[in-house]
Structure formats: C-alpha cells, structure tokens
C-alpha cells in the first residue's frame, strides 16, 4: 500500500504546472488519467527531442511530466466528449485543471457541477493569478511572474536590467503548490468526507518564495536592491569556473588560510572579524581572488568542505548530470523504456525529488502514448463497446 494507491486523479491540465502536480501523485502511487485533446497536449510538441527531430512520443518534457500516468484522448469541445468526461469524473476523487477562470464552468464543469457528479470531489485549478481578483484574466508567462513577484528585481547587477529566474521555475512552483493544496484537501477529506476547491495562483506560489525578503524590506522601509557578484557571498572566479564561498565563522576563516598554507593572514587585523570582513570586501577580494585562481572548483570543494567551510561549485548542466554525488545517489533516471535498453544511455531525467523509505518514488510505467489507454478506460472502466469507441475515433471525439 502506497500513500496514494487508493486515489484516482483526472488531469485536464496542460503545460508544466498541472502535469507536475499530478506527476507527484502518480509517482507516489496514484492512478492518474491524463485527458488530452485528440491532437495531443502542447507539451508533446515542446521537446527537446532526440536529434532535434519532432516526435510527439519523444518530447523530453512530456516524457518527464507523465510518468506513471494513463492517457485518454477526448475533445471536450464536442457534446460527446463532454458526456464522456461527465462519466469519467465520478470515477476520480481529484480533478486537476488549468483552463482560464470560468472556462470549466462554461463547459459545464464548474465546481458546483463537479460536486453534482461526485459530492466529495476535490477540484484543483491552476491559473497565472487565481480564480478571483482584478488580474484573474491577465496573461502571463514565466518572466511576468518574476516581474510581478518582485524576485526579478533583485536578480542581476545594479548597472544592468533585472533578471528572471532561469528556465520555467514559476510553473514548478505552481505545480508544487497545487500538489500541497490537493494533498492537504485529500487528508482533510479522509477525516471529514468533505471535498473542496483548491485555487492556485502561480503569482502567489512564486511570491511565497520571496516572503522573508518582503518582510525585511517592510522593516527597513527600503526595497531590496540588486548587488554586484563577488564577496561577501557571491560567486568568485577560480581556475576552471566559479565557486560560492561563505566564510562566516571565525574558525572557518582560520581554516581557509590553513588551506592556502598562509595561516598568518588569518590574524590580519583588517579582516579579524566577520564585521571587518564585510566592511573591507574590496580588499578582501584582492586578497582571496588570486589564491582561488590557483585551484579548480573540485580542489576547492573537496579541500574546503571538510574544513567546515561553506563552498559550492558552479556546476553547468553537463557537470551536474555527471556529478559524482548525483550519480551515487541515483538521482537521474532513464527517461523511457528505450533509453533504459541502451538506445541512448544519456537520455536521463530527474528522478525522486526526495527519498522516502516506506512509500518510495518509483516509475511503474513510462509516459503514455497518445490515447494509449482509451480502450482500457472508456471500454473496461466505463463499459463502452469497441464499436462505440471506433465511432468516436472516426468522429474525432477521442
């Protein structure tokens, strides 16, 4: 018995956030039925693709987001498709969707309609700004979230433009928050029998990641600004890259100079205390930088870490995937059956987000092909005949 082996999720969402939410359910045991339009989820076209050849069954992000899920196709813009969806929803305790606000209601699947189909349903809705408020119909992409949350303003240097976070992290934040809301609602339903609606605003999910700094700015009355990299806590150049180096405590300051084999510098009165070091960062940089440049990232990491000094290597993505620690912990896993069989040993994706002893993350099945489970779900589960399914296929309903 896993955490979610009694849970079925219907996932109507597209993009990254909703599928990441339902992936967390699926990877920890739930039966997730992904509902795609007959033309396929947008993420089947996003890639990246092996050898850059478009293939809706090989899109990297689709493969990652849809492990352990079943896939049915259904055109919710047709009456027959909506009728099928009405049959499907009572079979699931949780529905995840990412339509614009009001779109579900207009299709006949607002929360009150879903409650009629299943009284204790949990409806999880993920949108850029939430189901309510003056911004609810506003448009967003990742960069807009980093603007509105205030996080972008503090990334980068004071003399240049602010910077968004790299990648598409706002969608992962939203997907995680959707899972947190849904799992909490599930635990509450276990106790009370009551379902509920979970309204996730991507902006709130991202802004929550700035909460401490927002309070700090309120207290000081000044908005946090961008800083130049380098000391006291930024990335510093070394022989083959950049390291993060944070020498906060007195003993570690001394250890640093033992490592450089110049222990007397630890007693230099200009840098005697953390306060002194903060006050004299420019001189400190002059002192430390040439010494760091004698060493590689690996030498510094493995040389300083055992001395209790906070040091980090700035790994690029290739170095990260090949990192000894990541490999030993088995973090990256094959992306599909074919890559596991050696078709391409380098095709890997992030695996368990955390290691759980009693209900471990696992891949039971790789991502489904388009409509792979139509017969299983519409036929065996809902009791429709092969003939009926063929007719729907011909009519592009499924």
């Amino acid at each position: 018995m896993t955490a979610f082996s009694d849970v079925r999720v219907i996932d109507l969402s597209t993009g990254i956030a909703g599928p990441f939410c339902s992936k967390l359910f699926a990877d920890f045991g739930a039966d997730v039925i992904k509902v795609e339009p007959p033309t396929g989820d947008e993420s089947r076209r996003l890639g990246p693709f092996p050898d850059d050849e478009d293939d809706p069954e090989a899109s990297g992000i689709f493969q990652y987001l849809n492990t352990n899920k079943r896939c049915v196709t259904l055109d919710a813009t047709t009456p027959a498709g909506r009728s099928l969806l009405r049959e499907l929803i009572p079979e699931a305790g949780i529905v995840v969707e990412s339509y614009p606000p009001e779109a579900m209601r207009q299709m006949g699947f607002g929360y009150s309609e879903i409650r009629k189909l299943r009284d204790d349903a949990i409806l999880v809705s993920i949108t850029p700004f939430g189901q309510t408020g003056p911004w609810r119909d506003y448009q967003a992409t990742d960069i807009v979230q980093y603007a509105a949350s205030g996080i972008g303003y503090v990334n980068g240097t004071p003399d240049q433009e602010p910077l968004k976070e790299p990648g598409n992290q706002s969608h992962f934040h939203a997907g995680t928050c959707a899972f947190l809301g849904a799992a909490t609602a599930l635990i509450y339903r276990d106790i009370s029998g009551v379902g509920q609606q979970v309204d996730v605003s991507t902006l709130e999910a991202v802004t929550a990641a700035f909460a401490p700094q927002l309070l700090a700015s309120q207290h000081t009355g000044v908005s946090q600004k961008r800083r130049f990299p380098g000391l006291p806590s930024g990335l510093l150049p070394c022989k083959d890259g950049y390291v993060a180096l944070n020498v906060r405590h007195q003993p570690t300051w001394a250890h640093l100079w033992l490592f450089f084999e110049e222990p007397e510098i630890a007693d230099d009165p200009r840098f005697a205390t953390p306060e002194d070091r903060r006050a004299n960062t420019a001189e400190l940089a002059e002192l430390i930088t040439p010494r760091l440049e004698r060493f590689t990232m690996q030498e510094l990491y493995h040389g300083l870490s055992p001395l209790r000094i906070n040091v980090g290597m700035t790994l690029d993505i290739e170095q990260l995937v090949n990192d000894e620690h990541m490999i030993k912990r088995g973090f990256f896993v094959p992306i599909s059956q074919s890559s596991q069989n050696g078709k391409s040993e380098t095709q890997k994706m992030p695996g368990a987000p955390f290691k759980m002893s009693a209900t471990p993350w696992e891949i039971r099945t790789y991502a489904p092909s388009l409509g792979q489970h139509n017969s299983e779900v519409f036929g065996q589960m809902l009791g429709h005949s092969d003939q009926q399914l063929d007719q729907w296929r011909n009519e592009d309903v499924i």
């Binding site: 018995m1 967003a140 960069i143 709130e204 309070l215 990335l235 980090g312 700035t314």
Partner: protein, 420 residues
Amino acid sequence: MSAKLPLERLRAVVLTQAWSGALTTQLLANMGAEVIQVEALSRPDVWRGGFPPHNRGQYPNEEPGTRPYDRNALFNAVNTSKLGITLDLISEEGKSLFLDLISTSDLLAENYSARVIPNFGLEYPTLRQINPTIIMMRMPSFGASGPYAMYPGNGGTTEPMSGISSLLGYPDGQPMNSGTMHTDAISGMMGFAALLIAIRHRARTGKGQYIDLSQQETATTYITDQILEHTVGGRVPQRMGNRDRRMAPHGFYRCRGEDSWVAIAVRSDSEWERLCEVMGRPELASDVHFATAEDRLQHTEKLDSIVQSWTLNRDSTKTAEVLQAQKIPSSAVMKALEVPENPQHKARGFFETVDHPATGPYSIAGVPFSLSETPGRIHRPAPTLGQHSEAVLKQHLGVSDSEYASLESQGVTGDDPGDD
C-alpha cells in the same frame, strides 16, 4: 466530529532553521498542525540574526531592541503559527526531554548539515525505538547520504551546486546566484510535499518512515526542462539573461523613473501584431524581419531596442495595463515594497497581518494555495525565543514548577539567553 483544519490532529517537533526547513514546517503549522520549534538558548536559529553586539538583521525601523533575536524579519517571516521552546540537546536533561517530546509527536523535521543529527544521537533507528510510528525528515543541502552528505551547505552554495546559477546571468557575463537564496524556498515547499505523502501513508497504514531530502535535488527538479536540453537535446544550456528560446520580444524593458522596468513576453505572431499596434508602429507587423517567431528570435537586439524605445518614457505599471488590455503578457517589475500593494493581492487577501509581541503588527505573504473549506492561515506570530518553553514542558511533559525552575537555572531551557 470533523477536524476544522486538515492537519490539526498532528504534533510535530522540529529542529528546522533558517529558511528551507522552517518554511516546510511553517506550512505544516499554517495548515493546522501543532509545530514545536526547538532551539538552543545559546545557539538559536541563525535567522534570528544573533545576539548583541554581533547581531545582524532587519528589524522594525532598524531598531534591534534589547532582544534583537525576537525582532528579525527573516525568522519572523517563516515561523508563523509555531510554538517555540528552547532545549540544550547536548545536556542529558535536555536530550531526555526532547526524546519525551518525540514519544508524543507524529513527526520530526530538521535541516541541519547531515553530521549534526548523528552528533546529537538522534538518528532514525534511535527515534523509532522511542516512537515506532514517527516520521523523520532530514533535509540537508546535499541530502543525508552520498559522497557530499557530510559537507556543509546553505542556500548560497546549494544554488550553484544545483545548476541554477550556471544559467542565471547576462549572456556575456559570469554566472550568478539569485538575490534571494532561491533554492531554500524550493526545498521548503518540496519538503512539505514529502511530509504530506508520509502523513497520508501513515494514516492509511499506521507506519512511520524516514525521508532523505537533498536540497540540491529538489532545486535541480525545478530546472528539469533545462536538464533535458542537455540529456535529450544534446546541448549544454547557457546563460541567456531574459531571452527565451521560443518567444521574442521577451524581456524586462526600461521605463520612466529610477530603475523602473516592465516585463513583456510575446507568445505568437498575433500578439506581435497587437504589440505593434499598441506601440503605434503598425508597419512593423508587416516587416519581414519580424514576421515569425523565428525571424524575431534572429533579430532580438534590434527588436529589443525598438520595444525599449517605446517603453523608455512610459510608466511601467500603466504600460503593463495597456498591454494586458490587448491580452499580451506583461507586468511592471515590482520592487519589494510595491509587491504587497498589488491590487490582485489586496483583492485576494494573500498578505496577512500578524501582531507580534516584539515588533508590533506586520504583514506577510500567506499560504500559496487557497482551499475553499479549510483555508490555511497564520494562527499566531512567530514565537519569541523560548516563548513557549514553560507551557510546553509543563503541559505536554508534566514537568513540575520546581523541575522547570531547576532546568531554567541550569540553562537547559527558558527564554533568557543571558548576557553571553
């Protein structure tokens, strides 16, 4: 009878500190669990900002007061709804009381460096002997196992080790860390996901478990699409500033006023046409250099200078409003003090006001998921140092008045760190 909040029947004793773990257990507390935060009087949470005269933090009106550790913004932002007690885990009495607490709790969470828990003698097998169904979550920077497990780490080192810093920066510049220790927030949220999975598993099976969360791995998870660019696409992704692989224009564009910027992202040809209209440059829509996304991506520099020449003398907020009216994704790049004033947050009540005994009222970002029946909320302000030591030890563990006085005089517990 049903519970009023999803997690109100749970008790957690936590050694979480700074941001990541503290955020995990704050979410737990905001959703109803009784969370007892344990600190040492001599070594409180580092996010309290330390003791005078070496204290360093952001205090209301920049006044540290006599107990600055009760007034620091960072601690007070991520420890709402918790109880705070002090226990010296190195002393025999302190450790024994801690184990008593474990025996009456459902879970323990901590985010120390991985060598600390073994040093305290608080490893999972030991705790399980005391409480067979305990859930224990450890969340060190690099996890509790593997070759780097015993290395120290914090947000500033986890970020470059997760690959994120290699991607953050200007296209021709050096890698950078974020301005926020961003990976802490990621692992904080993911830590709560792990706890919820364990809590439900325990409710179904009666079994506890051990969770090993590596902050490096949770952070890496959030850039999966960039990892796949390498493992599937065969490229090593590089820093690209605010540029995007599919969209152009795409960036933060300078506006009127000091350090003022607006985000604009154009997802399609029709959005580009609408942007040209809004900019009063309809002729650009038919310019062959910018006809398709591919064309625009090839001419991003020219494109960016056109867009910026339009934004340069405009107000950032008004510009975003004009673009949103045309369904083009946009927002002003907000400064920290502007964020809580966003009408969207006001309308949804996302920021909550807490009245803290040592700072007075403050407003902080609330729970980032809204539940219609059981909304999580901030039940009480973050605890002052040792605020609930006496109440928790007496009520939960039956410590007598005289025993408590003796423990306090030995410095095992209390709320006064003394002059040291």
